[in-house]
């Protein structure tokens, strides 16, 4: 609790993140209006008591679409970060064990290869082959998270492998895999959590970007990126169509970045000591 108060970024980050995850969770059971029902009579209404964020060009409630869009964004980004961690972290741990060996070279050069491709290009390739869908967006974003986590894990693990307590574990007869799990992983976990929140925000941006160009979630699934794309032509008639999804993206990404910064400060014992 005192950590929350000590950090200037943790609390606002946590609040923003909770607001959007809360909205996404509520949308699972309830939204103000059904977004699959079109109501042409009340289209492009400005914000009012009936529709707090107004309605779009088909008369759908924008608040409901933002809430469902939050669900899409969070689901896509969360699974993509999960893919990156589940595959990237073991790669990084293994590369650190075999530092300078063949496995290290193969893993790290493979990472370089993935890094070398622009993510949008890969996404276009994947959609060209498998068609546009939220699932393919997840895969495309997930692939790009793998090298991020692999590199981070390898770098942190390498410095840990030279510690005396690792030597003590080896003297106790523990194997490299076991040491990686028992000693290395818990000590890189806080780095991974921090990087995870930052990748999470990047994932939300990427999903919005892919949906904007039509490569992400397809109708009738709501998506912030597609809402922006749809509102583009009507921006002079009804600016609120672009304003609310834009704000949603901005505030979610801001919140996650603040949360990441705050967590880094809170979890790093060195910074914690410096503050006291």
């Amino acid at each position: 609790m005192s950590l929350l108060l000590h950090s200037r970024t943790l609390l606002p980050g946590l609040v923003l993140t909770l607001v959007f995850t809360g909205a996404a969770l509520i949308s699972l059971v309830w939204v103000p209006y059904d977004i699959t029902v079109l109501d042409i009579a009340s289209r492009m209404k400005p914000p009012s008591w009936v529709h707090p964020f107004g309605t779009d060009q088909f008369g759908r409630d924008i608040l409901s679409m933002i809430m469902e869009g939050a669900r899409t964004s969070i689901a896509v980004a969360l699974v993509a970060v999960g893919i990156g961690m589940v595959i990237g972290v073991p790669f990084g741990l293994a590369a650190a064990v075999r530092k300078g060996g063949l496995m290290d070279e193969v893993i790290m050069r493979g990472n370089d290869l993935v890094f070398a491709f622009p993510s949008l290009l890969i996404a276009v390739m994947i959609t060209a082959v498998f068609g546009a869908s939220a699932l393919n967006a997840i895969i495309a974003i997930g692939i790009f998270n793998i090298p991020v986590f692999a590199r981070l894990t390898r770098g942190a693990a390498l410095s840990l492998w030279s510690r005396d307590y690792i030597l003590a574990a080896r003297v106790a007869g523990k194997g490299q895999a076991r040491i990686s799990l028992e000693h290395i992983l818990p000590n890189v976990a806080n780095l991974l959590i921090v990087q995870g929140t930052i990748q999470f925000s990047l994932g939300i941006l990427a999903e919005a970007g892919l949906s904007y160009v039509g490569l992400g979630a397809q109708p009738p699934i709501a998506s912030w990126g597609r809402m922006l794309a749809d509102s583009q032509t009507m921006i002079s008639l009804a600016p609120h169509l672009a304003l609310f999804p834009g704000l949603a993206i901005l505030l979610t990404v801001l919140g996650l970045n603040l949360l990441g910064d705050g967590l880094r400060d809170a979890l790093d014992p060195k910074l914690r000591r410096a503050r006291v």
């Binding site: 005396d164 003590a168 007869g173």
Partner: protein, 529 residues
């Protein structure tokens, strides 16, 4: 008149009192030794002379340098003072230099900051300063980078930076603690010579009584932010008054009482062991280079014996330790433990490994910070086929902790809750828990304060008697090796150059390298009491 006078200096940081009524003085051309253990406030006293203090510091008292009241000077005036009037040498030569700048540029920088001279003139004076610090230009040109120099040479660069402007006062904070014994002796000689040549005052801060005793004209002994005793070095050593000073002196030359006899049965035999390392000099396709870390080493340890292994950094001690522990295989020769090979078919022999344990130097790096003590000390149980569980495990943890003077309840704490000495006790408990026959102590007391070191040495002596332990005691500190070992090996560049009973080797060294080591080791004055 004295050069530096500190009078009744009291200092607190964020309300926490650090120094209480500290007074001391340095006269030109004289060396003041400031002795104390960690947390005694000796370094913060030195930093207060330059007013390099953390935020939230509150000072009272007087510090005068050449008649100037330091505490009332503005930051701007202080900047003019630092480096020009007062030079400073730090403990860690590896981090005190900027790795991206040449040594010439770093020494010249001090000159350029304080004097309006051309760059070429500053460089010429830097060369002169380096020459005075015994880094002659023909072998160490100004264009060298710090990574091209050894630790001792880097410390000479730091000293050259400090003396470049011929300051009136030089502050050296543990200048030789990170260095080998022979390098330490050279650096101390250098400091002594510079003081005599320039008529500087030197404030030498150290935890090591023997280092200071060799050099200092005056002494100040500090404890918990207070000066407990001070005076001219000769008379002080001959007639110590304060109980703390006496205890410190006793601890520095402490010889633990040892029981238990060695039997004439070899426990560990190392026969003509060779360990080569292969490196690639430039990438994958570059030439391979070979480095022989351990070269034809043979020795044996008897059951119940305490064997010392002495050598400077890079002599192959650590490689040999890892080979004995079965962490790395050797290319030639064999290592037998109680007649069994440590390695069979490229695999470490589990039956042998569960009979050896190790205690490392660094009490802070030897433990996973995210584990509790109970889990930490039971890690070697992994070596057992049927490790104790449940209540038996609890009992084993309690026994191990209590045998090293800790409490069984400490098992539920995290390692950061303990001091360096306590951590080293926990490290010993971790080694003891599987009841090994041999414990390798790899610089196990080197990082500890003298009084804590004396306690840990007593503990080790007591444990060897109680559990019939055999020790391989690896250290660069000759006085410690002398106090706790029966026999000693001297290692240099991967080879054992001398071997024999500890007293014989140290009193009548035969090999020139051993003679050099023994001569370089700082000693307390014989009449100290």
């Amino acid at each position: 008149m004295s050069l530096l006078a500190i009078e009744n200096l009291s200092l607190s940081i964020h309300g926490l009192p650090i120094l209480k009524e500290v007074s001391m003085g340095v006269a030109p051309g004289r060396i003041l030794g400031v002795i104390g253990e960690s947390g005694s406030g000796k370094s913060i006293t030195a930093f207060s002379v330059l007013h390099l203090l953390p935020n939230g510091t509150d000072c009272t008292g007087r510090i005068t340098l050449n008649g100037n009241d330091i505490l009332s000077l503005s930051e701007r005036d202080l900047c003019g003072l630092r480096g020009r009037e007062v030079g400073m040498v730090f403990q860690e030569p590896m981090t005190a230099l900027n790795p991206l700048k040449t040594i010439g540029a770093q020494v010249a920088e001090t000159i350029l900051i304080h004097e309006k001279v051309s760059k070429s003139e500053a460089m010429a004076r830097a060369a002169e300063a380096l020459r005075r610090a015994e880094l002659p230009q023909d072998r160490f040109p100004l264009s060298r980078y710090p990574h091209e120099l050894s630790g001792g040479q880097r410390q000479r660069v730091v000293i050259a930076m400090a003396i470049a402007l011929k300051p009136k006062l030089l502050i050296a904070d543990e200048p030789t603690t990170a260095l080998d014994v022979t390098t330490q002796a050279q650096i101390l000689d250098l400091l002594k010579r510079l003081v005599a040549e320039d008529g500087m005052g030197l404030m030498l801060i150290s935890h090591d009584l023997a280092v200071v005793a060799d050099l200092a004209d005056d002494l100040v002994i500090m404890k918990d932010g207070e000066v407990v005793e001070s005076g001219p070095a000769k008379s002080l050593f001959a007639n110590m008054q304060h109980p703390y000073s006496k205890a410190l002196l006793e601890a520095s030359s402490h010889v633990p009482l040892r029981t238990g006899e060695a039997v004439e049965v070899p426990l560990l035999e190392v026969r003509e062991v060779v360990r080569d390392y292969t490196g690639h000099s430039h990438g994958w396709w570059g030439k391979t280079t070979h480095f022989r870390a351990v070269d034809q080493v043979s020795f044996s340890i008897r059951k119940g014996e305490s064997l010392g292994l002495v050598g400077e950094s890079g002599c192959g001690k650590s490689t040999l330790t890892r080979a004995i522990l079965g962490l790395e295989e050797v290319q030639r020769g064999e290592i037998l433990f109680d007649g069994l090979p440590v390695f069979t078919h490229h695999h470490a022999n589990a039956a042998v490994r569960r009979r050896m344990q190790v205690v490392f130097q660094d009490p802070y790096g030897s433990f996973n910070p995210r584990w509790k003590v109970g889990r930490l000390v039971t890690e070697p149980f992994h070596l057992l086929e049927e490790p104790p569980r449940g209540r038996e495990r609890e009992k084993a943890i309690a026994e191990a902790l209590e045998s090293v003077g800790m409490r069984a309840a400490d098992a539920d704490k995290y390692i950061h809750e303990f001091s360096g000495g306590q951590r080293q006790r926990i490290a010993i408990a971790r080694a003891l828990i599987i009841r090994p026959d041999l414990i390798i102590l790899d610089e196990a007391v080197s990082a500890l304060d003298v009084s804590v070191r004396a306690q840990v040495l007593d503990l080790l002596a007591d444990l060897s008697g109680r559990f019939g332990l055999t020790y391989l005691f690896i250290s660069h500190d000759l006085s410690v090796v002398r106090s706790i070992t029966d026999r000693v090996l001297v290692m240099k560049a991967g080879r054992i150059v001398e071997e024999g009973p500890t007293a014989t080797v140290f009193d009548h060294p035969k090999d020139p390298y051993t003679q050099q080591l023994v001569a370089a080791a700082p000693v307390l004055p014989a009449d100290a009491a």
